[in-house]
Amino acid sequence: MSEGTTVPDGRRYTKEHEWALVDGDVIVIGITDFAQHELGDVVYVELPRVGGRVAAFKEFGVVESVKAASDLYSPLTGEVVAVNGDLGEHPELVNESPYDRGWMMRVRAEDLAELDQLMDAQAYRQLIEQG
């Protein structure tokens, strides 16, 4: 089931299939390759507004495909400083480039220690292999 799925090192992962990447003083967040594959063709992404607050393990948005809609859970708590405006016109970026051009939001973390609660790449690979 996890054949061919990418799980890059250097990021942290949630069991709901989001990834978090430290970039300076903000954390970039998106969904994993496994998640986009399970969803199928993404048609819409509902993102929070810039300036809003997200909380660890609470919903921050929704990703819709033709046949499914999944809540998105934030890996950590903080203020949303940017959201990916390209996803409005091109939601397929989530499928094509889930770790790069398909990024969803950038958050200024209130407590970086929250990252330690998340899985590393190896643990996440194990999770999806167990299915």
Binding site: G40, V43, S65, E92
Partner: protein, 476 residues
Amino acid sequence: MTEALLSELSTPGRETIRIGRPNVPAHAIDIPRELLRDELPLPEVGEPEVVRHFTRVSRLNVSIDTNFYPLGSCTMKYNPKVNDAMAALPGMRGIHPLQPEETVQGALQIIHAVQELIARITGFDAVSLTPAAGAQGELAGLLMIRAAQHARGQEHRRRVLIPDSAHGTNPATAAMVGYEVVTLPSDPRGNVDLEALEDLLDETVAGLMITVPSTLGLFDEAMLRVSELVHRAGGLVYGDGANLNALLGIARPRDLGLDVMHSNLHKTFTTPHGGGGPGSSAIAATAELAPFLPIPFVVRGSDGGYRLDADRPASIGRLGSFQGHFGMLVRAYTYIRMLGTPGLREVSEAAVLNANYLRSRLSQSYRVAHDRTCMHEVVLAGLRANGARTLDVAKRLLDYGYHPPTIYFPLVVPEAMMIEPTETETKATLDAFVETMLTIAQEAQRDPELLRTAPHTTPVGRLDEATAARNPVLHW
């Protein structure tokens, strides 16, 4: 094979239907300019073209009248034409909902009769026929449970238990009413997991929503115990009666411990599905919950006259514009009178026999989700020998002139295919369907690509739904 749209057929100046001028004295229309519209951009298409257009468009559909349509949980049985003829009688079709009651006694009598007939069939004490559809019936039912719990002084019960196999309207309805939804797992035999139920039942639970028989096409082997447990914990049981076609004359839902239930007139009681509506629903309740039924209600006075009663202080209120889908009630009345007492059991026995017959013969090439007798529908779990997905089997069925069964529902069965033949099909139709399904199973081994690219013979092939959802074009 694309049909033009009316906007594409439109031609300026085309003659359309006119109604002529009224024979009252002429007067300039003195509505102020700013309240009037400028232009009215409707298409201009003449009657002959409109009729040809919609007639041609209709022929792009499959329907019960043209094809076997075994959509699970939808009960696609024959829609008797006499039903439509009765609903079209001028005395039925041409009466206004607010007319003086003495001018519509026939209509009120029909509503009253259907209330009574459904009460007898389901075993409940009172029935309201105002809900416009199953989903609105569910809304009524949950609002009633909420009202009943409040009346019992139990407002703190904010959670509703719903099996994982439930139709999506169940949790959607519970959420609309403000309940927290707690999902109840099924056990390997397709029953409600009794242990999980006992664990979850406490004083925060307002009730349980259960489909009887379930969406897996199975009758819960501990049904009476399930109701008993819920009642003992202070909860109420809501019954989703979508599958009532399995139980007519076989068991009364009230006897199974349900407190309130909706049934779908457009399923069990043959009112036409109409391409997705109109539906119509009866909501039936025990004596305790009867005061909360939606208004209005038809009652019979001591003088024998019928009237609409909207003076029910405990009612959850009014859900629709008037008193329900009367046109569908006329149809249901006609059908139920033709069934009579003997017809009830005849329907369900044949429906259940047909479904089990398919289960037995299809098990040759398809996984049957649960190894036990099914009710009026059977759920398969994909091909035994892999090779193609349920989606591909469904699309290939289209090439053979069948409407596919329900697919990927219920969610708890992987590669689910839910087949409900109904009682109005001949054995020959069932046999032909089985042969086709077995053939497709073989094709899946020999030439899976044929299935993956199906359908090949329909007016359009598989449509790109992803692009349609990304950039929706919702009008011409």
